[in-house]
Symmetry: C2
Subunit: 330 residues, 2 copies
C-alpha cells in the first residue's frame, strides 16, 4: 500500500465535468476523466454524474496506485460562480442556471469525505500557480475560455476572493457597455464576445451575411451545428474566414486583457480552454492588441501564455483548494 495521500479534484464547467485523483504534492493526476455536464437536465442529474465520476475515479486510482481507502483524504470542487465558500453553496451561475445550490455538502455527504468548494476559474488559476505555467509566480491572472469566461486572481500564492467570493469574474467585465446582452444581465461582457458559444455565434453571423468559408462544409451544411471547435477545424483546414473569426476573438480578448493588465499589473496572464489550441492564430493578434492598448510599463512586465496543465488545471487546482483550506501547509 502507498503511504501517500490523495485528493479528488472536481472541475465542473458549463459543458464538461472533469474529475481526477491528485497526489498531495500536485505532481500526479490519476484516473482523469471527462464527461458532458448535461446542465439542461437539471442539478440532480449533474450531481449524480459528479458522484459517479468521483467513485469511478477513486476506484481506478486505488487500483492503479495501490491506494488504501484512507489514502483519499478529501474532495476539492471547482464550480462556476458566484458562490459562497463558507457554506459551500453555488449562489448564481448563468451557465448552469443554478441558484443557492449546496453543492459541497451534497457531494461530501454522498461520498463520505470532507469537501471544499471554490470558483472553477480560481481553482484552475491556482493549479497553474501550483504546478503549471505560473509556477511560483507572485501575481497571476488566469482566464479560462469555455462555455463561459472565468477568471482567477492569485496574489502571493493566495486566491484573491474579494469580500464575498465574487472577485475575478473577468468574463463579466464589460468591454462594450452598450454592446451584446450577456446571460448575466450586463451588456458587452467579455464572455458575450469570446466564450465558445460567442465565437460560434459571431462565426454564424458572418456566414449569414454571405462570407465564403469552409465552415458550413465541416458541419455538413447545418450551420446551426457550428461551434468554437468548428472554427478551430476551419483554421486547421486553412479557411481564411475561420482565421478572421479567431483574429476578432483575439481582439476582444486583447481589449479585456489590456484592462486587466492596466488594473492588476500582473506578472503573468495564463489563458486556458479549448480555443487556445488555435495557438498563434489566437496568441499573436492577442498580444498585438494588448500591446496597443495597455500601458507599456505594464505590458512589458507581463507574460501572456497558455495553460501548461490543459483540462487538468481545474482538477489539480480544486485539489489545491482542499489542501489549502484543510491543511494550510502550502
Amino acid at each position: 500500500m502507498s503511504e501517500q495521500r490523495y485528493i479528488v479534484g472536481v472541475d465542473l464547467g458549463g459543458t464538461s465535468i472533469n474529475v481526477g485523483v491528485v497526489s498531495y504534492d500536485g505532481s500526479r493526476v490519476l484516473a482523469m476523466r471527462s464527461s458532458p455536464t448535461g446542465a439542461d437536465k437539471g442539478p440532480k442529474h449533474v450531481v449524480d454524474r459528479i458522484l459517479m465520476m468521483i467513485r469511478e475515479a477513486m476506484a481506478d486510482a486505488a487500483r492503479e496506485a495501490d491506494i488504501a481507502p484512507e489514502g483519499f483524504i478529501g474532495i476539492g470542487l471547482g464550480s462556476p460562480g458566484p458562490l459562497d465558500r463558507a457554506t459551500g453553496t453555488v449562489i448564481e451561475t448563468p451557465n448552469l442556471g443554478w441558484r443557492n445550490f449546496p453543492l459541497r455538502d451534497l457531494v461530501a455527504n454522498a461520498i463520505g469525505l470532507p469537501a471544499e468548494l471554490d470558483n472553477d476559474a480560481n481553482a484552475a488559476t491556482l493549479g497553474e500557480w501550483w504546478v503549471g505555467s505560473a509556477k511560483g509566480v507572485d501575481n497571476v491572472v488566469g482566464v479560462t475560455l469555455g462555455t463561459g469566461i472565468g477568471g482567477g486572481i492569485v496574489l502571493g500564492g493566495q486566491v484573491f476572493h474579494g469580500v464575498s467570493d465574487v472577485a475575478g469574474e473577468i468574463g463579466h467585465m464589460s468591454i462594450d457597455s452598450t454592446g451584446r446582452l450577456c446571460k448575466c444581465g450586463n451588456y458587452g461582457c467579455l464572455e458575450a464576445y469570446a466564450s465558445g458559444p460567442a465565437i460560434a455565434a459571431r462565426a454564424l453571423e458572418g456566414l449569414r451575411t454571405g462570407e465564403e468559408s469552409l465552415l458550413p462544409s465541416i458541419v455538413d451544411g447545418d450551420v446551426s451545428k457550428i461551434t468554437a471547435e468548428t472554427v478551430y477545424e476551419g483554421i486547421v483546414a486553412g479557411d481564411p474566414y475561420a482565421k478572421e473569426v479567431m483574429r476578432d476573438t483575439a481582439k476582444f480578448l486583447g481589449a479585456g486583457i489590456a484592462n486587466l493588465i492596466n488594473l492588476l499589473n500582473p506578472e503573468i496572464v495564463v489563458i486556458s480552454g479549448g480555443v487556445t489550441r488555435a495557438g498563434d492564430h489566437l496568441l499573436e493578434p492577442l498580444r498585438h492588441e494588448v500591446r496597443r492598448r495597455a500601458f507599456r510599463r505594464a505590458f512589458e512586465a507581463c507574460r501572456i501564455v497558455t495553460s501548461e496543465l490543459g483540462n487538468q488545471a481545474g482538477v489539480i487546482g480544486a485539489a489545491c483548494v482542499f489542501r489549502r483550506v484543510r491543511f494550510g501547509d502550502l
Copy 2:
C-alpha cells in the same frame, strides 16, 4: 515647541497641486494650499511651483503649530502615473506629458528632506483608508475624477501596486473597446467619458446638436469655456440638459465601477473629485447602473460612497505613503 512629527503631503494633479502638512497620525492637516499645475509650462515650472508651495506650507505650519525644523521628517508625493516607486521616477503621464521624470529626488534634494513617491490616486485611496470614508476597511477601491481618472486599490491596508507599480489604472479600463480615443492611446477608456474634460466635451457635443440649455449663458455665450464645473453650476441652476449630462456621466462611471466590482469584489468604492459635488445627481443613477450590471452578490457587499477628505485625501495619503515606506509602523 511641539514634540509631534509632521510629514509634508504633495498631491500633484493634471489641473491642481495640493500641498499640506500632515500630523504623523493623519489626524490634522496644516497650512493646506492649492495652486494650478500649469503643466503646459513644462516640468521645471511645475517642480518650482511644488517647491515654493512646500516651503510656504512648512513655514506657515511651523508658525501655526510651533513646529521645530526637525519636526518635519519628510515629504510624501502623489503623482499621476505610471511611475517607478523604487527610483522615484514618473514614467509616463498622459495628463502632464512627462516621461521618465525623477520627481522624488528633485524635490528631496531641493528641500533637504527625504521623500517618497506613489501614484496620486493610490495615495488618495490610502488617505481615505487611513482617516476617511474607508477607514479601516480591508478591501477598498478608490476612483478619483479630475483632469484624468485615477484609481487605487487598497487591500488589507496596503496599496496594491502590481508587479511594476501600474496597478489601479482604473481610468484606463476600456468600457467601449471601439469607442473614443484616449490620451493613453487606448480606445474607450473610462477617462475618455467621465473625466472633467470628457464631461465638458460631451456637454459641448450636445449643445452643438441644438440641445436647449442654460450652460451657454453661464459662460457668457463662449461655449469653448464650458467645463465640468459649468455642468455642475447648470445642475444647481436647474438646467435639465446639465442634469442629463451628469446622468450620462453616471452611466459611464456605473459601467466602469460594475467592472471593478465584478473583478475585485470590494467592500467599498470611494469616489472623489469635484464632480462628486453633484451629489445625488451623480450617485443615484450611478448606483442604479452598477446594480443593473454587477453580480448581485458583489453589488450587495459593496458600499459606493463619496470621499470624506475631499481635496485633502491625496495630501494625507501622500503623507501616509511616506510614513509607510520609511517607518512601516502603520
